[in-house]
Each structure stands twice: as C-alpha cells, then as structure tokens.
C-alpha cells in the first residue's frame, strides 16, 4: 500500500518538476512547481515529519509560489530579464542535459551502492511540533536568531531594490 502510494506521489512530483523545467510559459512553470511542492508535503508526512509537511504547504505553496506568480503577473512572464548574457542557448542546453544526466546517474549510483542499512525502528512523534520546538529553541538557538538576521537582510533588500531608481 505504502509502496503504491510512494510511486504515485513520486510520479506526480517528477511530473511537476518536468513541468517546471519544460513549460514555455512562466505561469505554467509556477503552477507545476506548486504541484511539486504540495506532493513533497505528503512525503514529509510519510516520513514522520508532520510539522515540516505543514510548513511546506504554508511557506512553499502558500508564499513562495504566490510570490513567483505575483512577480510574473507584475512584469509579464515573457518579459523577465535574461539570466545570463544573451547568445545561443543550444550549447548551454546540451551541457545542461549532460550535466543533469550525469548528476542523476552519479547520485543514483552513489546512493544505491552506498549499501545503507536503514534502521527502520518505530519512533513516536519525532516530527511533532513539540519535538521540533524542544530542540529548536534550546540546541539550535543560534541558527534561530540568525534566521531573523537573514530575514532582516531580505527586508532591507526589498526596500532598496524595489524602489524607484532615484537620482539626486
């Protein structure tokens, strides 16, 4: 039962990712990304990380994809600036394809040949909000405070960059 569920979901996740990569229209890419994110939330719950699953939906599906769509609407999907210097993208695409395939083969080989002996003992509630909170606010206190510094940087950045270029 779980195996079937895994395959169906994995197929959906990969389909979403393929959609992100191949869609010509940025809006469809964003929607495919949403599908991918939502499916991953289910995986997290299957992996006993319930809180993370919920956060995945709230942050990724609820916020990041919305921000992407917002920007696409703001400037029009086709009008986004080019990522790198202009020029023919065909060589880059071939390189990207090779890189992607090599990465996939290498990672799959490395991971499967790693011969991990997974300890599949049952553990209760390790992904619950309490368990996360207990460790996050004691052992991982420094990263927690650093996260607020990071958010502060992003906040200043949004103000600096999104304003009109004013020239005195």
């Amino acid at each position: 039962m779980q195996l079937v569920l895994f395959f169906v979901l994995a197929l959906l996740a990969v389909a979403g990712a393929v959609g992100v990569v191949l869609s010509k229209n940025a809006v469809y890419s964003a929607l495919a990304l949403l599908l991918n994110f939502a499916v991953l939330a289910v995986f997290y719950i299957m992996l006993n990380a319930q809180f993370l699953g919920v956060v995945q939906v709230i942050v990724y599906a609820g916020a990041i994809v919305v921000l992407f769509l917002f920007v696409i609407m703001l400037i029009g999907g086709q009008l986004a600036p080019d990522a790198l210097t202009a020029g023919s993208r065909r060589p880059a695409r071939v390189v990207a394809l090779i890189a992607g395939l090599v990465a996939l083969a290498g990672l799959a080989y490395g991971l499967v040949s790693g011969a991990l002996a997974p300890q599949t003992g049952q553990v209760q509630g390790s992904g619950s909000v309490q368990a996360i909170g207990r460790v996050l606010f004691t052992d991982y206190l420094l990263p927690f405070e650093l996260a607020s510094v990071l958010l502060l940087v992003a906040m200043i950045g949004a103000v600096v960059l999104a304003r009109k270029p004013t020239k005195s």
């Binding site: 990569v21 991953l40 395939l101 990465a103 992904g127 950045g157």
Partner: protein, 102 residues
Amino acid sequence: MVPLSWYLVLAAALFSLGLYGALSRRNAIAVLMGVELILNAVNINLVAFNRFIVPAAVNGQIFALFVLAVAAAEAAVGLALIIAIYRTRNTVNLEDADLMKG
C-alpha cells in the same frame, strides 16, 4: 515500508531536473524555479536521512526548516533584483501602471 534508497533516488531525480532547468533556461524566473527544485531535493534528503538513520533526533528536520526559511528569503531578494532590472529597462511601461492609483 518504503526503503531509504527510493527517497534518495527521487531526490536525485528532482536535483537533476532542477539542475537542468537552472542551466538551460534563459528566463531568470525560470532559473530561480530550478534552484527551488534543487532546494526541495535537499529537503527530501535531509528528512529521509533523519527518518532512517537517526530516527530519534530531529536535526535533519530542523535543517530542512532553515532551508525553507532561506529559500523564501532568497526568493524575495532574487525576485526583487529581477524587478529592479525590469524597472531600469522599462520605466515607461511601469509609469503607465501607476495610473491604477487614481
């Protein structure tokens, strides 16, 4: 019980797709989406390792939580940069859009 290696292969597949997307796309927003896919592949890895290798701990999940937070901040700054470039190039069009104020 789904074995660990399946999750890892799924993550590797998402990583490769994200890599392909980030390298092959020309549109900056699409490149950023490719990067987001890679970050999600990372999170699957972290949570799966946490579940199978150190099931009593939550450090992998906490790392994944921070990855999520960083991904959001990164997207915010990156999209702001994209908008900034768009504005310096096409100021005229956006002045039109300001008419909505009234």
